[in-house]
C-alpha cells in the first residue's frame, strides 16, 4: 500500500499554511502556536528544520516566499492584525572558521489592518517587489518596497475596499504584457444573499488604481481559498476556488471590452466537484497548471486533472494520514458512503440506524501538546475597533458555516460542465 513520506511537524498547534520557495527546496510553515518554521532539503532529499521563531502574537494564518531574486524573504500574516516581512541574514559573529549562522529577522511590520490579516501574497516578480494583504474587515492592501535592497521600507500603495470580509487572495501569475496586473479575492461571508464571493481586481495603468472588474456571481458560498493556475501563455486564466465544493473557473479576457464598457471577461465554470462533503479548505496547482490538488472536510487530498478539453477528473485520492485511499480508477466509488441500516433484535433495547462516513483517521493521534495561550501583554498598535460585534468570526481561515442538511449518501456527479 502506498504511504506518503512524512516529516515530523514540531508545531504545537494547528498548522495553517505550508509554502515552498521558488525552487521547491525550502519550506516555510506557520501555525496557531504563533511560530513560523523553515525547513531545508539536503542533498539526500531529507528535510531539516533550520529555523523556528515566534513570529506573531496570534495565530499565523499564511506564509509565503518572495522570488529568490529579492533574497530569502518571507511574508506572514496573523490574527494579531499584522503582516510581517522577514529576511534571512547571515549573522555577524566572526569566530575562527566561523561560517556564520543564518537567522531570520523581521524587516517590517505592516500594521494598517484593524482586524485579522487573512492572507498575504507577493506579486509576480515582473511587477517588482509588491505585497498584497487582505483582512477580515474587507480591505485589500497593496504594499511596495520601492528599493528592493531595503526591505524595511514598505509603502502602502493602494487600499481597496471590498464590501465583504476577505479570506484569501491570489495574484494572476500571467507573464503576458497584454494582461494588466490582476488579483482575485475571495470572501468567506457565509450568507448567499450577499452575492458573489470572488472578486477580480485589475490595475489600470491610466487611472493608476485598482478597480473591481468582475465578480464571479456563480459562487455564493463562503470561499476559503483561491488559486490561479500558472498561465504559460494560455488565452484564458484558470482559477480554482475552494468553497463548499471545488470549482474550476475559466476567466477569459474579452478583446476590446474596456472601451465599450462591456464585461471584461467571459467567466465560465469548467468543473465542480462536491467529493469533499461540505467544505473545501485549500486548492493548489502544480507547476504547469495541469493538475489541481484540493483538501477538505473529508480529511482527504484529492487531485484533479483535465484529461481532454475541460474534461476534469479525479485522478487520485490521498488520505490525510498519507495513505492512498484508492487509485484513480475507482476514485468515484470510493467516496460513496455506506448506508447501513443495522437493526439489532437480540437485545432489543432500541432500534438504531445510521449513515456513517468513510472515516478512519483517529486512533493513533497523540494528545496535542499544550499550546501557549497568548497571555503576553503585547499591545496592538491599532486603536480600539468601532462597532465590535459580539460574534467575532474570523473569516481568514477556512472556517465558515453552512446550514446544510447532513450530506446524504453521496452519489457524486463527477464532472459538471
Amino acid at each position: 500500500m502506498f504511504e506518503a513520506h512524512s516529516i515530523n511537524a514540531e508545531h504545537k498547534d494547528l498548522i495553517h499554511d505550508i509554502a515552498y520557495d521558488f525552487y521547491g527546496q525550502r519550506m516555510a510553515t506557520c501555525s496557531s502556536d504563533q511560530f513560523v518554521k523553515v525547513w531545508d532539503e539536503d542533498e539526500h532529499e531529507n528535510w531539516h528544520l533550520t529555523a523556528s521563531w515566534k513570529a506573531h502574537s496570534g495565530s499565523v494564518w499564511k506564509v509565503t516566499w518572495a522570488h529568490p531574486e529579492f533574497g530569502q524573504v518571507l511574508a506572514t500574516c496573523s490574527f494579531d492584525r499584522t503582516a510581517a516581512v522577514w529576511e534571512e541574514i547571515v549573522g555577524e559573529g566572526s569566530g575562527p572558521g566561523e561560517r556564520g549562522m543564518r537567522h531570520w529577522i523581521r524587516r517590517t511590520n505592516l500594521v494598517d489592518s484593524r482586524t485579522s490579516v487573512t492572507d498575504v501574497k507577493f506579486a509576480p516578480k515582473t511587477l517588482g517587489l509588491l505585497l498584497a494583504t487582505c483582512s477580515s474587515d474587507g480591505v485589500v492592501r497593496i504594499y511596495e518596497a520601492p528599493d528592493a535592497m531595503n526591505l524595511s521600507q514598505w509603502t502602502l500603495q493602494h487600499d481597496i475596499t471590498c464590501k465583504l470580509p476577505c479570506s484569501c487572495l491570489a495574484w494572476n501569475p500571467s507573464l503576458s504584457r497584454l494582461h494588466p496586473p490582476m488579483i482575485a479575492v475571495g470572501s468567506d461571508d457565509a450568507s448567499p444573499s450577499n452575492g458573489g464571493k470572488v472578486f477580480i481586481y485589475e490595475y489600470s495603468e491610466n487611472a493608476r488604481r485598482w478597480t473591481k472588474t468582475d465578480t464571479i456571481a456563480s459562487i455564493n458560498d463562503a470561499v476559503h481559498d483561491i488559486a490561479f493556475a500558472p498561465n504559460l501563455g494560455r488565452s484564458y486564466h484558470t482559477l480554482a476556488v475552494a468553497t463548499k465544493d471545488v470549482r474550476i473557473i475559466s476567466v477569459k479576457p474579452l478583446p476590446d471590452s474596456a472601451a465599450n464598457g462591456q464585461a471584461r471577461f467571459e467567466i465560465s465554470t469548467l468543473a465542480q466537484f462536491d467529493d469533499h462533503y461540505c467544505t473545501v479548505w485549500r486548492v493548489c496547482w502544480n507547476i504547469m497548471g495541469t493538475i489541481l490538488a484540493s483538501s477538505g472536510d473529508d480529511g482527504c487530498v484529492r487531485l484533479w486533472k483535465d484529461n481532454y478539453i475541460n474534461n476534469w477528473k479525479c485522478v487520485a485520492v490521498l488520505k490525510g494520514d498519507g495513505t492512498s485511499a484508492q487509485s484513480s480508477d475507482n476514485a468515484t466509488s470510493a467516496t460513496q458512503n455506506s448506508n447501513h441500516t443495522a437493526v439489532q433484535p437480540a437485545l432489543s433495547t432500541t432500534r438504531y440506524q445510521r449513515i456513517v462516513p468513510t472515516i478512519s483517521m483517529m486512533a493513533e493521534m497523540d494528545k496535542v501538546i499544550q499550546a501557549p495561550l497568548s497571555m503576553n501583554s503585547k499591545k496592538y498598535q491599532t486603536s480600539s475597533i468601532k462597532g465590535r460585534s459580539n460574534k467575532w468570526v474570523m473569516p481568514g481561515i477556512p472556517s465558515e458555516a453552512y446550514f446544510e442538511p447532513p450530506p446524504p449518501n453521496i452519489a457524486k456527479s463527477k464532472n459538471k460542465k
Binding site: 504559460l232 493548489c284 486533472k305 478539453i309 483517521m361 497568548s374 477556512p398
Partner: protein
C-alpha cells in the same frame, strides 16, 4: 416532556466504553468493525461498532449522570433523579459493592429536581449536586460518599428503599436554583455553579463564606471548565455561548452569538481552546476555535474561528460527547441512533515547482509525495515529462528530427520530422521560401495570399492510367507545380515530370517499420495496384498476427472498374468491418463514385499528411480549397499538431500551437518549436514571448541553468539572422589603463601574434599582465598569483576535447571570478573550493559573506 432527552457520555476511564441514558441507562463498548457484524452490534461508523454490554432500567427519573472518575474495571454512576436523590449505581455486581457505594442514596432534605451532579476530579469521594429551588433550603450540596459508609448497611443496588439519610458535608445557595455546576481541575475544593438564571458563582468549600466570586450572567447552562486551563469557563443560554475568565470575572471575555438555540456546548479535551456545540434543529456540529485569548490588555481582542462540520448523522442529535483521549473524536446520539465521528483538522497543502505535493496531517506531521512515487507516476504529469525532456536536451539538438526521438511521443515526433523535412526542402531550393523556413501546404498553394484567396496557378487535369494492371482504365488526377511542392511537404516524393514513378524508398521505409497498410494505401493512391498487392503479401508473410493481409490482397486483386459489379457491391458492404483505417481508405478509394472521395478524406485514422496528399492528387481546385480550409480549421480547433503541415510556421501555426498548449500544457514543445522554426518577426509575437518566458521560468525553477543557457543561445541564434549578436554584459578591464583585458586578448588570439598559440599549447603561456599597458593583473585571493596563471596542474594537457576548448581563451577554472559586493576574487576554481567550506571572503580583513549573498547557493551551514 414525554420522552426524556437522550444523553450520551464517554467513560472518562475507559477508552472504549460509553453510556447513554434516556428512559434507561445503557452501557456500550465500542470496537473496530469485524468482517462479520454480530446482530447484537450497532454500527456507529464505517469502522466501528458498539456492543450493548448492559442496561440499567431501575431508575426512572434520571435527570443527570456523572461517571466515577477513578480507574476501576467497572463503572460507578452517580444518578441525579427528579426527586432530588442522587443514587450511586452500577451495571450489575461490581467491586464497588464491597465498598458499600453501590446503591447508596444521597437524599436532600426536601425533594425537588436534581439538575446537576459532579464528581470531584481529584478527591474522588466528593460529589456535589445542584437542585431546584425549595423555599429557604440550600440547593447545592456537597457529599462525601465514603464518610457515611460505616453507618450504612450494605444494600443491593436494586433496593431503592433506603431511608437512612446521609448528611451533606456542606450546603450552599439558599433558595436558589442550581442549573449546572463544575469542579475546577486544579483546585480540588472549588467549584462553579450557574444559579437562578442570573449568576455564576464560584464556591470554595474551604471557606466558611463559600461564595468567593460571583458574576451576573444569564448564561447558566452547561457550565464547564476548560480542561486545559482552569481559568476558562464556558456556559450558554438560548443562542449565546459565553466564555469567562475567572481572573476577570465581571463580564464574559467572549460571547458567541449563534443562529439557533444551543443544545450543548463542550470543551474538546484533546485540543486547546476548542469548543464543540450542538444547536437546536441543526444537523451540524459547530466548532469554535478560541483565538488569542489574551486578558492582559483591553486591546487584546479575542475571537473565535467558527467552523461547521456536517457529520453524517441522520437526524439532529440531541447530545454528544468528546472522547476523553482520542483526538477530535466524538459520539453523538439522536433518537435514531449513535454516530462515532472524528472531526478532521483542516488540511493545508502546497505543490512545489519540483513536483512535491505536501500537506499537513493534523499538527503532528507533514506528508508529501514526490515525482518518484508510484502514485505520482500514474498522474502522467506533463511537468515531470517536460523536466525529463529538458534534461535530455530536447528541442536543442542541432538536427531537428532528432528532437522528435527524444520526445517519446508520436505527435511530437511527427512534428519535428516535418520541420526537418520542410527545412531541407526549403534549403535545397525545392520550395522557394525566402523568409519562412517552414512553409505549410496552404502557404505553398498560396491559399493564404492576401490578394486572391484562391489558387494563382490553375491545375491541369491528368488522366492517369492504372499502370500495372494492364487495363486502359484511367483515373482523373490534378497536377500543378504548387501541388507537387505541397505533395513533397507531405512526404510524398515524386520524380519530376514523370507520371507514376513513385519514390520507392519511402514505401520501403514504411514496410521496414511494419506499416504495411499505409504502404498499400499509398501505392493504391498512386494507381499501382500490383505493387500494393505485393506489399500486402510481403506483410502477410512477415506478420503472422495480422493474417488477413492475404485476404485483403485477394480482395484487392479483384478490383473492377465496373460500377455495378459484385466485387464493388461486396467491398462497399464489408469495408466498414476492416479495422485498419488505411485499408478502409484503400477500398473507399477503389469503390468511390464520381470522384467523390469523402470516405477517404474523412478517414480520421489516416495521418493528416496522407489525407492532404490524397486531396492534392485527386481533388479539383475548388474542392481542394474547401477541404484544406475545413481541415485546417478542424485541426486548429483540436490543437492537433499535425495541422502544422497545413499552417506551417505562420501566425496560424502559432494559434495551433496555442491550442495544443491549452490542451496539454506542453509549453516546452511550443517554445522550442517556436525558437527553432519561427521567423524572427513571428518570434516577436506576444504569445510566443510568453511561452518562452514561461519556459525559461520553468528551467530556472528546476535549477536547470545549463539547459536554460543553451535555450537562450538557441533563441538568440534564431534571431541573429538580422540582428546583431547578444551584447556583452560584463567586461574585465585593467585597473591601471582601464582597457578591456579580454578584448585585447581576443585581438591577439585572432591576429596570431605573440600570444596566438595560447589556446592550443599544452603548457599554457602565462598572461599575467594587461596586454595594453603591461601592468600586472590583480592577484588571486587564494593562491596570491597574478591572474592569468593557471589555477592548477594540468593533468592531461593533450586532451581529446581540444576542439571544444579551441575557441576559448582560457579554461573556466582559470578565469576571473569576483564578488559583486566586496570586489575580491580570483581563479574560479580556487574560489569555488574556498566557498565550499566558507561563507566569508578569503581576503583576511574582509568580512563580506560573499557566498551567502547569493540566495540560490546553499552552503552546508550547521547541518549537523
Amino acid at each position: 416532556m414525554n420522552t426524556p432527552r437522550l444523553e450520551i457520555q464517554w467513560s472518562p476511564i475507559h477508552s472504549n466504553k460509553f453510556i447513554t441514558w434516556g428512559t434507561e441507562i445503557c452501557l456500550y463498548e465500542i470496537a473496530p468493525i469485524k468482517d462479520t457484524v454480530r446482530p447484537s452490534c450497532i454500527k456507529v461508523s464505517d469502522t466501528t461498532v458498539a456492543h450493548l454490554l448492559a442496561t440499567n432500567s431501575s431508575h426512572n427519573y434520571v435527570k443527570c449522570i456523572d461517571i466515577y472518575p477513578i480507574a476501576e474495571p467497572d463503572i460507578l454512576l452517580a444518578v441525579g433523579q427528579a426527586n432530588g436523590r442522587v443514587v450511586l449505581t452500577t451495571f450489575g455486581p461490581t467491586a464497588y459493592d464491597s465498598l458499600g457505594l453501590t446503591g447508596k442514596e444521597l437524599i436532600p432534605k426536601h425533594a425537588r429536581q436534581c439538575n446537576a451532579v459532579a464528581w470531584n476530579p481529584v478527591e474522588s469521594n466528593l460529589l456535589i449536586c445542584g437542585l431546584d429551588k425549595y423555599r429557604t433550603d440550600q440547593s447545592l450540596l456537597l457529599w462525601d460518599v465514603h464518610r457515611t459508609t460505616s453507618n450504612t448497611e450494605r444494600l443491593h443496588h436494586y433496593n431503592t428503599g433506603q431511608t437512612d439519610s446521609i448528611r451533606p458535608l456542606a450546603e450552599v445557595a439558599i433558595s436558589e436554583t442550581v442549573h449546572s455546576l463544575a469542579w475546577f481541575n486544579n483546585e480540588p475544593k472549588c467549584s462553579v455553579a450557574g444559579v437562578n438564571n442570573k449568576h455564576l458563582k464560584i464556591i470554595d468549600f474551604r471557606d466558611p463564606v463559600k461564595i468567593v466570586n460571583t458574576t451576573a450572567a444569564k448564561s447558566v447552562f452547561n457550565l464547564a471548565v476548560n480542561p486545559h486551563n482552569d481559568y476558562h469557563l464556558v456556559s450558554h443560554i438560548d443562542n449565546l455561548i459565553t466564555i469567562w475568565d475567572t481572573r476577570y470575572f465581571e463580564k464574559p471575555v467572549l460571547t458567541l452569538t449563534q443562529a439557533r438555540p444551543v443544545l450543548k456546548v463542550l470543551w474538546c479535551p484533546t485540543r486547546h481552546n476548542l469548543l464543540g456545540s450542538l444547536q437546536k434543529d441543526s444537523g451540524t456540529l459547530h466548532l469554535h476555535d478560541i483565538q488569542h485569548y489574551g486578558v492582559a490588555g483591553e486591546d487584546a481582542e479575542p475571537g473565535a474561528l467558527e467552523r461547521i462540520v456536517s457529520p453524517p448523522w441522520t437526524t439532529t442529535p440531541t447530545s454528544f460527547s468528546w472522547h476523553p483521549t482520542h483526538v477530535n473524536r466524538l459520539l453523538a446520539i439522536s433518537p435514531q441512533g449513535l454516530t462515532d465521528y472524528t472531526v478532521y483538522e483542516r488540511i493545508t497543502l502546497n505543490w512545489s515547482t519540483r513536483s512535491h505535493l505536501v500537506w499537513n496531517h493534523a499538527s503532528k506531521s507533514y506528508k508529501y509525495i514526490c515525482s518518484n512515487d508510484n502514485i505520482y507516476k500514474g498522474l502522467n504529469d506533463i511537468s515531470i515529462l517536460s523536466n525529463r525532456r529538458a534534461l535530455s536536451g530536447y528541442g536543442l539538438l542541432p538536427e531537428l528530427s532528432q528532437n522528435g526521438e527524444l520526445a517519446e511521443d508520436d505527435t511530437l515526433k511527427n512534428v519535428w520530422q516535418w520541420l526537418y523535412l520542410s527545412r531541407s526542402l526549403v534549403e535545397d531550393g525545392t520550395i522557394p521560401s525566402p523568409d519562412n523556413k517552414h512553409p505549410g501546404v496552404r502557404t505553398v498553394l498560396k491559399l493564404d495570399d492576401p490578394i486572391t484567396s484562391t489558387f494563382i496557378t490553375k491545375s491541369e487535369i491528368v488522366h492517369r492510367p492504372w499502370a500495372d494492371i494492364g487495363s486502359n482504365i484511367t483515373a482523373k488526377t490534378y497536377r500543378s507545380a504548387d501541388r507537387d511542392k505541397a505533395l513533397q511537404l507531405c512526404g510524398w516524393r515524386f520524380e519530376k515530370d514523370t507520371n507514376a514513378p513513385y519514390n520507392n524508398l519511402f514505401l520501403e521505409r514504411l514496410e521496414r517499420e511494419g506499416a504495411y497498410p499505409r504502404a498499400t494505401a499509398i501505392s493504391v493512391f498512386n494507381l499501382c495496384l500490383r505493387q500494393a498487392i505485393e506489399i500486402l503479401n510481403r506483410g502477410a508473410s512477415k506478420m503472422s498476427s495480422s493474417a488477413n493481409f492475404n485476404i485483403v490482397a485477394m480482395a484487392l486483386s479483384g478490383f473492377s472498374e465496373d460500377k455495378n459489379s459484385m466485387w464493388r457491391e461486396l467491398c462497399l458492404r464489408s469495408r466498414s468491418q476492416l479495422s485498419d483505417p488505411y485499408l478502409r481508405a484503400t477500398f473507399a478509394f477503389l469503390t468511390a463514385d464520381n470522384d467523390t472521395y469523402e470516405n477517404v478524406l474523412n478517414e480520421n485514422g489516416m495521418a493528416v499528411e496522407d489525407r492532404v496528399a490524397f486531396a492534392l492528387m485527386f481533388l479539383s481546385d475548388n474542392n481542394l480549397y474547401e477541404y484544406l480550409q475545413n481541415l485546417s480549421k478542424e485541426l486548429c480547433e483540436q490543437g492537433n499538431l499535425a495541422g502544422m503541415l497545413l499552417t506551417g510556421a505562420s501566425l496560424e501555426g502559432i494559434q495551433l500551437l496555442n491550442k495544443y498548449l491549452e490542451i496539454t500544457g506542453d509549453v516546452q514543445s511550443c517554445s522550442l518549436i517556436s525558437i527553432r522554426a519561427l521567423s524572427p518577426t513571428l518570434l516577436e509575437e506576444n504569445q510566443v514571448q510568453v511561452w518562452i518566458e514561461s519556459y525559461r521560468n520553468l528551467l530556472d525553477a528546476w535549477k536547470l541553468w545549463t539547459q536554460r543557457a543553451h535555450f537562450d543561445i538557441a533563441m538568440k541564434s534564431s534571431i541573429n539572422d538580422n540582428k546583431s549578436a547578444v551584447n556583452k554584459q560584463m567586461y574585465v578591464s585593467c585597473t591601471y589603463c582601464g582597457k578591456n583585458v579580454c578584448a585585447s586578448m581576443q585581438g591577439i588570439a585572432r591576429t596570431r601574434g605573440p600570444f596566438g598559440r595560447l589556446g592550443s599549447t599544452s603548457n599554457k603561456l602565462k598572461m599575467t599582465a594587461c596586454p595594453s599597458c603591461r601592468k600586472p593583473l590583480p592577484r588571486c585571493a587564494i593562491c596570491l598569483m597574478h591572474m592569468g596563471t593557471v589555477s592548477g596542474l594540468q593533468i592531461n594537457p593533450t586532451n581529446s576535447n581540444r576542439n571544444e576548448e579551441e575557441g576559448k581563451l582560457t579554461e573556466f577554472n582559470d578565469w576571473f571570478t569576483w564578488c559583486q559586493s566586496c570586489r575580491h576574487g580570483g581563479h574560479a576554481s580556487h574560489l569555488r573550493n574556498w566557498f565550499q567550506q566558507h561563507s566569508e571572503c578569503p581576503v583576511t580583513s574582509c568580512n563580506c559573506r560573499c557566498s551567502s549573498l547569493d540566495a540560490s547557493s546553499k552552503i552546508k551551514v550547521g547541518a549537523t
